[in-house]
Amino acid sequence: MSALARQGDRLAPLAAYVLVAVGGLIMLAPFYFMFVFASHSRTEIFSLPPPLFFGDDFLLNVKLLTARIPFWRSLGWSLYVALASTALTLLFCSMGGYAFAMFEFRFKQVLFLLVMGTMLIPSFLGMIPTFMIMDAIGWIDQPRALYIPGAASAFGIFLMRQFISSSIPKDLVEAARMDGCSELGIYWRIVLPLLKPALGTLGLITFIASWNNFIGPLIVMRSPDMYTLPLALRSMQSPVNTEWGAVMAGSAIATLPLLVLFAISSRRLIDGLTAGAVK
């Protein structure tokens, strides 16, 4: 190899490092500024030069925020819906995944195709009829309209099935059956505890998806005091007089739980989300 090529070979990793690092910083910049802006007043945010470091208006912004919208209430709703959604999803998806992984039954193929099929249905198709159905059954402005419909998600069932078939031996279930344990008992007392890692992953993914869900609440939640966080934040966006400092403060507070969760469990989260992709 020529000397130039060899030099190129040595410089390439260095250039790579720099580019990737700069890219990473650009990725994180909006978050940084979100927190910085959350501590400045609106006029400070929109001034030349814009603030690069934290200011002292955070508490003021929070006060403005809570005066404009029932922020803490919305936070509460987001939390409630996310927790309910996670609990229900873990239950239903583990049930479904267990069924597919451990049993042979007549309609298995059909049902599995059905599960896969739901992943192909684009979400916008259901937007309007979901609204009309929710209205007909009186679920408008009810949190259950947010956590019940998607509880048995195809992704979750798939994830659970994957995990169960690769880490829970069939003989274990057989043995329990022979010992006289009821079917549901096997599920509840033997399989479920062994699923803890996968449950943790799915739980994280579901919690985050529910926390960030915007379109669902947009369609179904119509009164401001039932809004979840994304809706509440958006309601502050008005053509007249958006209180930007407060909006940033609200966004920052809304994002914080996710950042914390991510910091603790990024590895698991990433692995979980990409599990289905690498076959």
Binding site: F46, M132, D135, I140, D141, R222, S223, P224, D225, S235, M236, Q237, S238, P239, V240, N241
Partner: protein, 422 residues
């Protein structure tokens, strides 16, 4: 045989049931409430009125549900269409009254048991007409109006050697003044050329014509007033007299703070906004005048309505009467939120004679009072919001891409006609 425990349980259950039922009844009676759905700043006005309300109805709560302007109207539209989640009192803005009126979901407040028609003379004429549907039903009661005014920076005008008379004499004079202002001070005449278009299309509206569509469903967007509006706007843009700044954007408020916008046409309430948060430091530098070429227009305005599906119509009606017919309520709303009263009785109050500090001591309210009497009602059509969007799109194409005015209006007409036919 039933044991003592079982007997006790049954008895306890019955008593609990009775108590609960009784409690519920008394609770329900004590905690009656009406829901008022509004948007900023009418929500503040409604909330401020609760004290007065409590004097008459100490046991009836008033729940004011406030949403951002657009969200409020979307929510009300949806509520009316599904007949659920309806408030008792619905605040409707000027631009949406027609849509709701045509939909047929609002009570006719003109006839018994409301009978507001008998009080028609007490309201500013155009506002009352605005809330009257084609069938003659009065679907809402006007609360406040936004008489159009021209706010201008007197210091900038002085520097450019332009007088107020010059500015407001005619549209052509207005544009000519803009050229002078730009040359002498560098300030823009208007924030956006579109603003000029917005006023000119509202002038010279013949009876039976709506703003965009007439009573027979004919689309009017290629009529002379539209052509003139588009051409004037184009002239403003070609002369680089507008800042291409959208209303309510950060650049807009900065433009006011820094004096790069010389004039702004809007509802009279803008003076209040300027004073409160847009550009308080420019106090004393602004003056108000009537719109150029004696154009009379209204910007916004709120109405109170009762949906047909409301649960507490009698109480709702009492609330509305309080907000719209009580001079004291109207006056306090005017004083606190710049809500120009639709009730004519109030117009003789001394408050109107008071000089406005922000406007350098000018007694502008007299000006606006005069304007309010001259504004014509404009028939409204449920497709007005879409029409406005279509026209604005074409306006942008004319201004930004040099599209020909006649072609643009023809395209707009075609687009709108498609929708009218549905």
């Amino acid at each position: 045989m039933r044991s003592a425990t079982q007997k006790f349980k049954t008895a306890a259950r019955s008593w609990a049931g009775l108590l609960l039922a009784g409690g519920c009844i008394t609770f329900a009676q004590a905690q009656q409430s009406i829901t008022v759905a509004a948007y900023p700043a009418v929500d503040e006005i409604a909330k401020a009125a609760v004290a007065q309300w409590k004097k008459k109805y100490p046991t009836v709560e008033v729940k004011v549900v406030s949403r951002a302007f657009a969200d409020h109207h979307t929510a009300m539209t949806t509520a009316l269409s599904t007949s659920s989640n309806l408030p008792d009192v619905m605040v409707v803005e000027f631009g949406y009254v027609a849509r709701f009126a045509e939909g047929g979901g609002l009570e006719d407040l003109g006839i018994a048991p409301y009978g507001i028609k008998a009080q028609q003379a007490r309201f500013v004429p155009f506002a009352f007409r605005q809330a009257t549907a084609a069938s003659g039903a009065v679907v809402a009661v006007p609360a406040d109006i936004g008489p159009g005014t021209l706010l201008y920076r007197t210091d900038i005008l002085k520097k450019a050697g332009v007088s107020e008379a010059e500015l407001a004499q005619s549209w052509d004079a207005y544009v000519a003044a803009g050229v002078k202002i730009k040359a002498a001070t560098g300030a823009y005449l208007v924030a956006h050329a579109r603003d000029v278009k917005d006023i000119v299309i509202r002038s010279d509206i013949k009876p039976g014509e709506g703003l965009y569509i007439d009573a027979k469903g004919r689309v009017l967007v290629d009529s002379p007033r539209f052509v003139r509006a588009f051409e004037l706007a184009k002239k403003v843009r070609d002369g680089k007299l507008d800042g291409k700044i959208n209303a309510w954007s950060n650049e807009w408020s900065e433009g006011f703070k820094r004096g790069t916008i010389a004039t702004q046409m809007s509802g009279a309430w803008l003076a209040g906004h300027l004073n409160n948060w847009l550009a308080p430091d420019t106090k004393g530098l602004w003056r108000a005048s009537q719109l150029p070429e004696k154009a009379w227009g209204s910007w916004g305005g709120s109405f109170y309505a009762i949906p047909k599906g409301a649960k507490n119509k009698a109480l709702a009606w009492d609330f509305i009467q309080m907000m719209t017919l009580d001079p004291q309520m109207q006056l306090s709303a005017f004083k606190s939120q710049d809500a120009f009263p639709a009730l004519v009785d109030v117009h003789n109050d001394a408050f109107f004679d008071q000089p406005i500090e922000f406007l350098g001591g000018q007694k502008a309210r007299l000006l606006w009072r005069e304007a309010s009497r001259k504004i014509n009602a404009v028939d409204v059509h449920k497709l007005d919001p879409i029409a406005e969007e279509i026209i604005n799109t074409e306006m942008d194409k004319v201004l930004d891409q040099g599209k020909d005015v006649r072609t643009a209006l023809a395209d707009a007409k075609a687009l709108l006609e498609r929708r009218v036919k549905r």
